[in-house]
C-alpha cells in the first residue's frame, strides 16, 4: 500500500485521508473493548471516567469491583479472610460458581464437539464421501440458524425428554453449536493434506490406527486445537440456550452477566468483562501461533 511515485497531489491527499479513515475504523473496532479495562478500576460506582481518574490520582482507582466478584453471594462476606472465608467464597460466591459451571460445561462440550467433529471432518474431506455437500450443509447449520430458534426447539425437546435442567443437556447443546467451527477449521487443515503420506505409512506396514495417530494427527493437530478453542469460546460465550434450558443453579458467566446488565449494571460487570478480554487475548494468541505452526508444517509460507 505504498504510495506510488507517480501519484498526483490529489491522490496523495486521498491516500492520507484513506489512512486516517482506516485508523478511525480500527479505533471503532478496538476502543470499545479496551475502554472497559480502566473503567473496571473505578473507585466510584459510575461508568465513566471521574476527575480523579483523569488526573491519575491513585485514590480514583480501586480493585473493589474485583473484590466484589469474590464476595457477591457469600454467606458471610465480612468475616476475616482466613481459610474458611475462602471456602465460603469457593462454595457460595455467585461469580465463582458461574465460572465453575462455565468451565465444566465448556470443557465437556469442547471434548464432545472436537472428537465428533474431527472424525467427521476426516470423512468429509475424503473424495469418496457421498452426499458431501448436503451433509456438510447440515453439520454447519447450527452456526447459521438463529440461536433463538435452536433454543426454542431445545426447550420443547429437553422438556419432553427430561434433559432440561441437566448438565448433559447443556453440554450436548453447546457441543452442537461448537461443531461447525471444528468442522470448518479441521477441513481447512485437511485441504492441504498430502495423502501420499498416509499411503506411504500404510505401505510401510502401519495399520490405519497407527497411521492416524502417528502421521495424520500430528499434521492436523493445529487445526484440531484451534477448532477446539473456537468450540470452547462458543460455549463459554453462549447465553440464550442457557437462558432457555438451564436450571437456576447452572448459571454460567454470560448468564450471570446478562442478569447484571439488565438489572444493575455495576462496574463489577466491567471487571468480569476485563477478565474475559484478557482470556480472549490469550486465546487469540494461541490460535495465531497454531495457525503459523500449521502453515509451516504444511509448507505454506507465511511470507
Amino acid at each position: 500500500m505504498a504510495l506510488q511515485s507517480y501519484a498526483s497531489p490529489l491522490e496523495k491527499i486521498w491516500h492520507y485521508t484513506y489512512l486516517v479513515i482506516c485508523a478511525l475504523i480500527f479505533l471503532f473496532l478496538i476502543a470499545p473493548i479496551l475502554i472497559v479495562i480502566p473503567l473496571s478500576f473505578n473507585a466510584e460506582p459510575y461508568f465513566t471516567f471521574t476527575e480523579k481518574m483523569l488526573a491519575l490520582d491513585p485514590t480514583g482507582y480501586s480493585t473493589r469491583w474485583y473484590d466484589m466478584l469474590l464476595t457477591f453471594g457469600m454467606t458471610n462476606p465480612d468475616a476475616p479472610r482466613d481459610s474458611s472465608w475462602w471456602a465460603d467464597t469457593w462454595a457460595n460466591a455467585a461469580w465463582i460458581n458461574a465460572a465453575k459451571n462455565s468451565v465444566i460445561i465448556g470443557f465437556f462440550s469442547t471434548i464432545l464437539a472436537t472428537v465428533l467433529g474431527t472424525v467427521a471432518a476426516l470423512g468429509l474431506s475424503r473424495p469418496e464421501m457421498p452426499f458431501r455437500r448436503s451433509i456438510m450443509a447440515i453439520l454447519i447449520s447450527p452456526m447459521i440458524v438463529p440461536i433463538i430458534i435452536t433454543a426454542t426447539g431445545l426447550f420443547f425437546f429437553y422438556s419432553a425428554t427430561g434433559l432440561a435442567n441437566t448438565y448433559l443437556g447443556i453440554v450436548m447443546a453447546h457441543a452442537t453449536l461448537g461443531i461447525p467451527f471444528v468442522i470448518i477449521t479441521v477441513t481447512a487443515t485437511l485441504v492441504g493434506f498430502d495423502h501420499s503420506l498416509t499411503r506411504a505409512s500404510a505401505s510401510l506396514g502401519a495399520d490405519p490406527t497407527t497411521t492416524f495417530f502417528k502421521i495424520t494427527m500430528p499434521l492436523i493437530l493445529p487445526g484440531v486445537i484451534s477448532g477446539a478453542l473456537f468450540a470452547f469460546v462458543t460455549s463459554f460465550d453462549e447465553v440464550v440456550v442457557v437462558l432457555f434450558v438451564a436450571a437456576h443453579d447452572q448459571q454460567t458467566i454470560p448468564r450471570q452477566m446478562w442478569n447484571g446488565i439488565r438489572e444493575q449494571i455495576s462496574p463489577a460487570i466491567l471487571s468480569v468483562a476485563t477478565i474475559l478480554v484478557i482470556v480472549s487475548i490469550a486465546l487469540l494468541t494461541t490460535v495465531e501461533l497454531l495457525r503459523r505452526r500449521s502453515e509451516k508444517l504444511r509448507g505454506v509460507s507465511p511470507g
Binding site: 473493548i33 467427521a120 426447550f155 457441543a175 446478562w258 446488565i261 468483562a273 474475559l276
Partner: protein, 433 residues
C-alpha cells in the same frame, strides 16, 4: 468409465488378478471407501440429528398443532384426557356455518363441566383467547357454574354470558378442535379469521409482526451495508500491506471476534448511555449542553451501532481472503494505460472483490436477522427485532405455538439465504480467522 470397457459384447472383460471382473472389484472398493468415509461422519450426523434437527422439527410441528382445546395431560397421573368430546362430535356432524343448536350448547355445557372437573378449563380458555381475545373469563366463569346448569342449555349459557352466541367464538372453537391448524401462521403474519372462517387482516392497532419482520430486514440490510462501508477500506488496507504489518493489524479485527458478545454489548452501554463516556466527552468539550445529552442507546441507534461493531469482523475476514490474492499488477496496468486511480479502482479492482462482498454480505445479513442478545439489551422498544418477539412469546406470553410459527418463518428465511450462500459462495469456503 467408458462404455467401450463396460460393454462385454464389444470387448474382452478386464479382470483382476484373482479373476473377478475389474469393474465389479473397483466398484466394490469404491463402495467400501464410500462406506468408510460415511461411517466416519455418521456419529456426528446422528448427534446433530438428535440435538438439532429433531428439536427443530418438533418445534415446527408445534406451530401447526395445538391440542390445548381437545386434550389435557393430567399433571398428577400423567394420563392424557380427551376434552370437549361431544362438542367435537357435533362439529364433525355439522358443516361449517351451521347455526349452533340446543345439541351444540348441551355438548358445550358437558364439555365445560368436564373441564372444570379436570381443571383443564384454564387451558381451554387460554387457547380460545388466542383467537378471540377477552373470552378466557367466559370459559372459566361458565365452567364454574356448568355442573348446575339445566336444559335448555342454550338459554342457560346465554344467561351467563350472551357472547356465547358470538359466531366468531364458535368458529374459533371449531378451528381449535382440529389437530392441524395454520392459524398460528396467520397470526404470525397479522391475519386472523372472521366469523365465517375467512382469513382477514387484524385491526391495525394490533398488527405487529409484519412490522417487525420488515424492521428486522431493513435494519439487517442497513447493518450489512454499514459493515461493508467500514469493512471494505480496512480489508483493502490489510490485503495490500506486507504480511508482517497486516498480521499485526489483523489483531484489531480478530480480538473483537474472540471477545465475548456480552462484553462487547456491555462496552457499548458504557459508551453510549446518556451518562456514559461519549456523552460525557461531548458535554466536557462543550459540544452539547448537560441538559441535551443524546439518547444513543435503548433505541434503534443503539442496536445498529452495537450490531455493526459485533458483525464487522464477519465482513472483514471474507473480504480480506478475497482481496489478498488479487494481483496488484492489474491495477498498475490499468493506470499505465491511462486510467485515473478512481477508474482503475472501479473498473478493475472492485469487480474482483465482488465474491468477497457477496460472501461477507450474506454472512453478516444471515447473522443479523437472527440476532437476539444485543437488541434485547440495548434496543429499548424501537430497536427490537423479530427474535425478541419470539423470546417474548416463549418466556412471557407463553403462546408457544405462535412463537414456533414465528420461529419457523424466520427459519425459512434464513435457510433460503443459507442455500443462496451455499450456491454462490460454497460452505467449504467459510473461513475463520
Amino acid at each position: 468409465m467408458s462404455d467401450a470397457v463396460s460393454d462385454p459384447s464389444r470387448s474382452e472383460t478386464l479382470t483382476t488378478a484373482d479373476g473377478k471382473p475389474l469393474k465389479a472389484a473397483l466398484a466394490r472398493a469404491q463402495a467400501r471407501n464410500r462406506r468408510r468415509a460415511f461411517y466416519l461422519v455418521l456419529p456426528l450426523l446422528l448427534f446433530v440429528v438428535v440435538t438439532f434437527l429433531i428439536p427443530i422439527g418438533q418445534m415446527l410441528s408445534m406451530s401447526v398443532n395445538n391440542p390445548a382445546f381437545y386434550s389435557w395431560k393430567d399433571r398428577d397421573t400423567g394420563e392424557k384426557v380427551p376434552l370437549m368430546v361431544d362438542l367435537r362430535a357435533w362439529f364433525d356432524e355439522n358443516p361449517v356455518g351451521t347455526e349452533p343448536d340446543e345439541a351444540a350448547y348441551a355438548a358445550l355445557a358437558a364439555g365445560l363441566a368436564h373441564a372444570r372437573e379436570t381443571k383443564s378449563i384454564g387451558q381451554i380458555g387460554t387457547r380460545i383467547n388466542y383467537e378471540v381475545s377477552g373470552t378466557r373469563s367466559m370459559f372459566t366463569k361458565s365452567a364454574r357454574r356448568a355442573e348446575k346448569l339445566e336444559p335448555p342449555f342454550k338459554e342457560a349459557l346465554l344467561d351467563i354470558d350472551e357472547d356465547w352466541a358470538d359466531p366468531r367464538l364458535w368458529s374459533a372453537m371449531r378451528n381449535a378442535s382440529k389437530s392441524f391448524t395454520v392459524d398460528f401462521y396467520l397470526a404470525a403474519l397479522d391475519y386472523t379469521r372472521d366469523a365465517d372462517g375467512n382469513v382477514v387482516k387484524v385491526e391495525e392497532e394490533r398488527a405487529v409482526y409484519i412490522l417487525l419482520f420488515k424492521r428486522t430486514l431493513v435494519l439487517s440490510a442497513f447493518i450489512t451495508l454499514l459493515t461493508l462501508v467500514l469493512g471494505f477500506p480496512i480489508a483493502h488496507l490489510l490485503a495490500t500491506l506486507p504480511l508482517r504489518h497486516s498480521n499485526l493489524l489483523m489483531i484489531f479485527v480478530l480480538l473483537p471476534f474472540w471477545t465475548s458478545l456480552l462484553v462487547r454489548t456491555t462496552s457499548w452501554i458504557v459508551l453510549l448511555q446518556s451518562q456514559g463516556v461519549i456523552n460525557d466527552v461531548w458535554v466536557a468539550t462543550g459540544l452539547i449542553g448537560d441538559e441535551n445529552r443524546l439518547q444513543m442507546i435503548y433505541n434503534q441507534t443503539g442496536t445498529v451501532i452495537a450490531m455493526t461493531h459485533i458483525l464487522l469482523p464477519f465482513m472483514v475476514l471474507p473480504l480480506y481472503s478475497v482481496m489478498r490474492p488479487i494481483d496488484p499488477s492489474y491495477v498498475r496496468a490499468a493506470r499505465s494505460l491511462g486510467a485515473t486511480s478512481w477508474t482503475a479502482f472501479r473498473r478493475v479492482y472492485l469487480p474482483q472483490t465482488v465474491p468477497g462482498i457477496g460472501a461477507g454480505g450474506l454472512l453478516v445479513f444471515i447473522l443479523a436477522v437472527g440476532y437476539y442478545i444485543t437488541p434485547a439489551l440495548v434496543g429499548g422498544s424501537s430497536g427490537q427485532l423479530i427474535s425478541n418477539l419470539i423470546a417474548f412469546h416463549m418466556q412471557k406470553s407463553l403462546n408457544w405455538s405462535l412463537a414456533a410459527a414465528l420461529a419457523s418463518l424466520l427459519l425459512a428465511g434464513v435457510l433460503l439465504l443459507y442455500w443462496l450462500y451455499d450456491r454462490l459462495v460454497g460452505i467449504d469456503n467459510l473461513k475463520l480467522g
